[in-house]
Symmetry: C2
Subunit: 220 residues, 2 copies
Amino acid sequence: MKVVMAQKILRANQQVARENRERLASLTTINLISSPGAGKTTLLEKTIAALKNDFQMGVIEGDIYTTRDAERIAGQGVEVVQVNTSGLCHLDANMVSRALNEIDYEQLDLLFIENVGNLVCPAEFDLGEDYKVAVLSVAEGGDKPAKYPLVFQEAQVVVINKCDLLALSDFDLDTVTAEIKKIKPELKIFPVSAKTGEGLEAWYAWLRQVIREKKESAMR
Amino acid sequence: MKVVMAQKILRANQQVARENRERLASLTTINLISSPGAGKTTLLEKTIAALKNDFQMGVIEGDIYTTRDAERIAGQGVEVVQVNTSGLCHLDANMVSRALNEIDYEQLDLLFIENVGNLVCPAEFDLGEDYKVAVLSVAEGGDKPAKYPLVFQEAQVVVINKCDLLALSDFDLDTVTAEIKKIKPELKIFPVSAKTGEGLEAWYAWLRQVIREKKESAMR
């Protein structure tokens, strides 16, 4: 019964996700997923600062109760809509649909959706995004892809963050990269430190490319 | 409907949790909850090594798919039962009840239940434990108690792990301690580094004390 119910919810979610995807046809939408504290918000702050002269960006901030992350992002001068899940452990397509009513998304080139900090549940919910980006922190340890494979299966991109801690940890970048590729060979992997800026240029270059591709396909 | 269903599940869980608690009346049971990679398994390894001459210990290892943590713990020479949740993001009382059928728990002084790595959902499920212990890693950042308050409300103890990274991060131990106390003033807080061993003596002393208290109350 629990399973049946879950499938019903997932089917309903899928329908709303499709509607979101149609509404978002002219821009690029990125669903950021990670454990608590992997550095999604810092990555967003840096990315917005780097790209805001070239692109119009917006952010939907998922959080269970607080507005802390939304306040951090609003400090960057982009439009932010906060979604409080009131205890729920993930964003779903309905929450994103309601958030889209509050944001002038047709003016945007790039919309980030920062999911609730949780490496498990958010992976099951299509929000209508173009790309799921999993953020994995070096401090979490290299066994996480094998232990939480779904998010890596569902993602198109993995950002390995906090690479400034590599020397202090037993996280081996080559081994973890191989583990991730074993789950899904075509995953793009960007090792970065959002704190020091190391590696971010490659991530920005990928964003610039997908924004351009989406625009071109929308104009066809 | 989603909420009604969730309440039904939680009520059924509560009943099984009560039965688990009766079965576990003669020993101390600890439910370890944290984000992925906060260091639950390393904390367990160190704790088992430190206490195994004095106490009989067992471990129920919750994991979504793999047996990696169970293998690490089995290396310590204690009885381990693995529970694979097959995708579910938390342990529930039924899973623990089935695991108890596989373990000679009446011979134990201390049973650890290592929950799935998730700071959100496991907090909602009573497993029949005596204590919920939340493990928070310095690398996750100091804003996590305010952002994920439920687990701190439900816990009796917080272990702040990876204190060897304090100098490298903006995690301020006094500020975070105050934030945690704001959520629940009576929470016991142990700042430790499971890696270096720093601070673990106080955690061991607390475990020795609660094991003794439980035995005394069981004999009354």
